[in-house]
């Protein structure tokens, strides 16, 4: 079985639309979570390792609310959006409190201190979630029976279409918010130089708080999307997803909003195409057991040639 073999090539071609859509769905979620990492890093120079946990709480809270709704026999198309709308403020509040409790007191401390405190918050949140919702997987209640739709040779469920469209809208809105509004301008100013921005009358605390609120909201939606798509959520789901999204942010250039979006989508596509085609392209020498190796190899390659990521600014421009 070689790539030049016409029958293998035909298989590659026939599965391509499906693999691209798989990658796109995965990538949209990575991008949403990566945005939270990149916004916080851009302004504070801090990697918020508790971000994945905020995402997990989004999934868990939404499932809990849906569980309450199911007792009242509410139509799914009313229940789901209202559960999402109720989850958002909870997670925004969570993100805000994390910043207030774990990072603000350490803002003048050496860089390592808030990093350790971030890891601490992450462990506390994970264990809290285990206390509230148990250690196992909990099922996402509403969307159990979905028949897929065929689009251009790819099977896609309505949940997955919803994921891609919602992610695209959210990223567009965030982009406008940062580029076109007063708050966005304040954020960009703080990212360039927090001290000078402060001297110009920008309330740094307020800007940082709203960054955490925005990022946490996006993470919450990403968490809901993931649990709806896979049909389950557990207290530890945030860790791996957070790590991948963090890599996506680095790939795109950490601190850069468009970079996080691009990095997320790319990582999703690389993972999916890598897992799907590595075996066939390497003539069976490398199978899908190398999918993560492949994804991280791409990341390393990008960083070797562009240390600040695909869309990252040169280090000199920021110092």
């Amino acid at each position: 079985m070689s790539i030049l073999d016409p029958s293998t090539f035909q298989v590659l071609l026939s599965t391509l639309p499906q693999q691209l859509s798989n990658g796109l769905i995965l990538g949209s979620v990575y991008a949403l979570v990566a945005l939270g990492y990149t916004m916080v890093y851009g302004i504070m120079g801090l990697i918020n390792f508790a971000h994945g946990e905020v995402m997990m709480f989004g999934a868990m809270i939404c499932i809990a609310i849906l569980g309450v709704f199911s007792g009242f026999d509410i139509n799914l198309w009313i229940a789901l959006p209202s559960a999402v709308l109720l989850t958002l403020p909870c997670c925004a509040l969570l993100g805000w409190s994390i910043e207030r409790v774990a990072y603000r007191p350490l803002r003048q401390a050496p860089k390592l201190a808030p990093l350790i405190s971030a890891i601490g918050v992450s462990i506390v949140l994970q264990n809290l979630a285990m206390l509230f919702w148990g250690r196992g997987n909990i099922p996402f209640p509403a969307l159990q029976n979905l028949t897929p739709i065929q689009i251009a040779g790819a099977n896609i469920t309505s949940v997955q279409i919803g994921i891609v469209i919602t992610a695209a809208i959210l990223m567009w809105v965030l982009y406008l918010l940062i580029e076109r509004t007063q708050m966005g301008r304040a954020m960009r100013a703080c990212a360039q130089n927090p001290d000078v921005a402060g001297l110009m009358g920008i309330n740094l605390n307020k800007v940082i708080a709203s960054t955490f609120i925005l990022g946490s909201g996006l993470a919450a939606i990403a968490g809901i999307m993931v649990s709806a798509n896979y049909g389950q959520a557990n207290a530890t789901m945030g860790f791996m997803f957070g790590l991948k999204a963090f890599c996506a942010a680095v790939l795109g250039g950490i601190g850069n909003i468009r970079g996080a979006m691009l990095g997320g989508l790319l990582l999703g596509l690389i993972e999916s195409l890598g897992a799907g085609y590595l075996g066939q392209l390497s003539n069976g020498y490398f199978g899908s057991q190398y999918q993560d190796v492949f994804a991280f190899l791409m990341l390393i390659l990008v960083l070797v040639f562009r240390p600040s990521g695909l869309l990252g600014e040169k280090q000199g421009a920021r110092a």
């Binding site: 599965t15 499906q18 995965l26 462990i123 997987n137 896609i156 195409l273 890598g274």
Partner: protein, 382 residues
């Protein structure tokens, strides 16, 4: 890469926390009781299985303590010292060392083959009796350790039964295999592949994932293109549930077949309608067919809710260990170890006898199918 360093740091901190937490609990109960170690993943994605196993072992300890046993002429109370190994071989060796330092007389565990095998070396060096209730990888009892036993049929006993069912009952000709690259998943998948080939089936695709993944769309798309009649998965329910859902999303009609890692209540709960028709194996006979089965089920469920998977086997493992102590009239590992090897115990899951390696003799394997949201036993294959 900061992320790798940080994840290592995270693991280290988590381990320190969990060890110190358990340590605190132990101090309060240090009353001269005989300590038996227990280890399984109590955090992480398989924590629900680990807790279930622990509950089973704990129930056995409670039953034994209620009997007011006398061993070596004095009254004996047992205490279960439970530590989290995170389903990770590296953490498992740390846990094993801690058990040795704390002077446990025997260890029930670990849950995963990938944790059991590295830890077994430490128990062997220190002469501690180890009975695993669920590590099925063949290697565990093939290392020449005289102190290592298991009360569940191993993958050499399980995979022929699975392959036979796939070829004879499902009439599958083209088979695709996925495993999660853990000692257990890889072992059972390799065994299954070998047996399928022996029975004349074709393995059209072999794909891989991890025990932390939740997205299988890419490998399933590749599998779909090879048009299999049956998909076998070597791994645990945390992956199996989204896997069968994604099979439905992609419109794959193939029969799903899994090992004991798929046979859980959570699998059905989380996969929902997609679980319907899935088949999984479980060593031992169905509980209803065992003399002590229904009573155990009733007592366990009154206390902890539905049995996930390994509770019964852990109950048996503790009982086998203590029965050997009773016969040897000693709780010292060197005294009761020969008695463990001579075990002939009517357990909840099976009549337990060990061969010279420490494997279960005549391990039966039962197959189950999901029908209307419940696991229903199919005829037992010997």
């Amino acid at each position: 890469m900061p992320s790798i360093q940080t994840s290592m740091r995270l693991t280290a901190i988590a381990l320190a926390c969990s060890l110190s937490l358990v340590g605190c609990g132990k101090k309060d109960a240090d009353n001269g009781a005989v300590k038996i170690g227990f280890s399984a993943p109590l955090t992480g994605a398989q924590a629900h299985l680990g807790k279930d196993a622990e509950n089973g072992a704990r129930l056995a300890i409670e039953d034994l303590n209620a009997q007011n046993l006398q061993i070596g002429g004095k009254p004996i109370k047992f205490e279960l010292l439970s530590l989290d190994d995170q389903a990770d071989g590296k953490v498992a060796t740390t846990v094993a060392q801690k058990f040795v330092d704390d002077g446990v007389v025997g260890v029930i565990g670990h849950m995963n083959s990938g944790a059991t095998i590295p830890a077994s070396r430490i128990y062997n060096e220190n002469g501690i009796v180890q009975i695993s209730a669920s590590a099925t990888a063949v290697k565990y009892t093939n290392q020449g350790y005289k102190n290592a036993f298991r009360v569940m049929a191993n993958d050499d006993q399980q995979s022929p039964a699975l392959a036979q069912y796939a070829i004879k009952a499902v009439k599958a000709k083209r088979v695709a295999i996925i495993d999660d690259r853990t000692a257990y998943g890889q072992g059972i998948a390799d065994g299954f592949e070998a047996n399928i080939k022996k029975l004349g089936g074709t393995v059209v695709k072999r794909e891989y994932t991890t025990d932390k993944a939740s997205d299988f769309m890419a490998i399933l798309t590749a599998i779909k293109a090879s048009n299999p009649d049956l998909i076998f998965f070597g791994g645990m329910d945390t992956q199996a549930a989204p896997l069968v859902k994604q099979m439905k999303t992609l419109g794959i009609q193939a029969q799903y077949l899994g090992g004991d890692g798929s046979y859980t209540a959570s699998f059905i709960k989380n996969a929902g309608a997609a679980a319907e028709g899935a088949i999984a194996s479980l060593p031992g006979k169905p509980l209803e067919q065992m003399p002590k089965g229904p009573d155990f089920k009733k007592r366990y469920e009154a206390k902890h809710g539905k049995i996930e998977l390994y509770a019964t086997y852990n109950y048996d493992a503790v009982m086998v260990m203590v029965e050997a102590m009773k016969r040897a009239n000693s709780t010292k590992p060197q005294d009761y170890l020969p008695e463990v090897a001579k075990t002939n115990y009517e357990g909840v899951t099976a009549t337990i006898q060990f061969d010279d390696k420490g494997d279960l003799k005549n391990g039966a394997v039962a197959l189950y199918k999901v029908e209307k949201g419940e696991w229903v036993a199919l005829p037992t294959v010997q």
